[in-house]
Amino acid sequence: MKVLYFAWLRSQTGLSEEDVDPPADVATVGQLMDWLAERSPGHAEAFANLEAVRCAVNQEYAKPDAAVGRDDEVAFFPPVTGG
């Protein structure tokens, strides 16, 4: 599974992207966030306030209960500020 980070989630994790292989019981965006938070102190910081984190699965906005699988591209970022 490819995971991307943008804005301050990128700064805090120290990564713009990483390939991860979560266990089978990580089946939703919410479960993935909990699992990723354990990977490093930077990840823990990035996912400390889940209210401030938004997600896209395969480049479409996704809620915490959305399904994720090993072939998905999952991105985490703060609320967007375009325009």
């Binding site: 479409e60 906005y61 991105a75 703060p78 609320p79 500020t81 375009g82 325009g83």
Partner: protein, 152 residues
Amino acid sequence: MIRVQREDFEIGAELSALTVGRHGVGGVASFIGLVREMAEGKELSAMTLEHYPGMTERQLAALEDEALTRWPLDRVLIVHRYGRLAPGEQIVLCVATASHRQAAFEACAFMMDWLKTKAPFWKLEEAADGAQWVEARDSDDQAVARWANNDR
């Protein structure tokens, strides 16, 4: 048409190109967003726009489709820049052309409201005391919400 680019754009050339040979068009409404030198009382030295390549283009294409579905438009153009920009530089160009002005004005406003809350861009403001990510505003959520119940 949508474009996501680092380079600046030339407003006159962009607007002229949209209506060449399209004599059914009676009006062109446009909005140009610029980098402001002041943000919450601080003087900015620069603003860096980060985006999600791939998703940005998908979202902007969806926005173009939505505008063309909701209003009787001829064409839509959105040009959005990314990278490090100085105060006064152009960030975004949003244009709608139509037979009549109301559709063009409304579609242009709709597209800007939508961009603020749904286009995957993030802004890092640089000032004398350091750099800070711009937080999303509730007022932008409210601005886009007014289009949700639009009966068109």
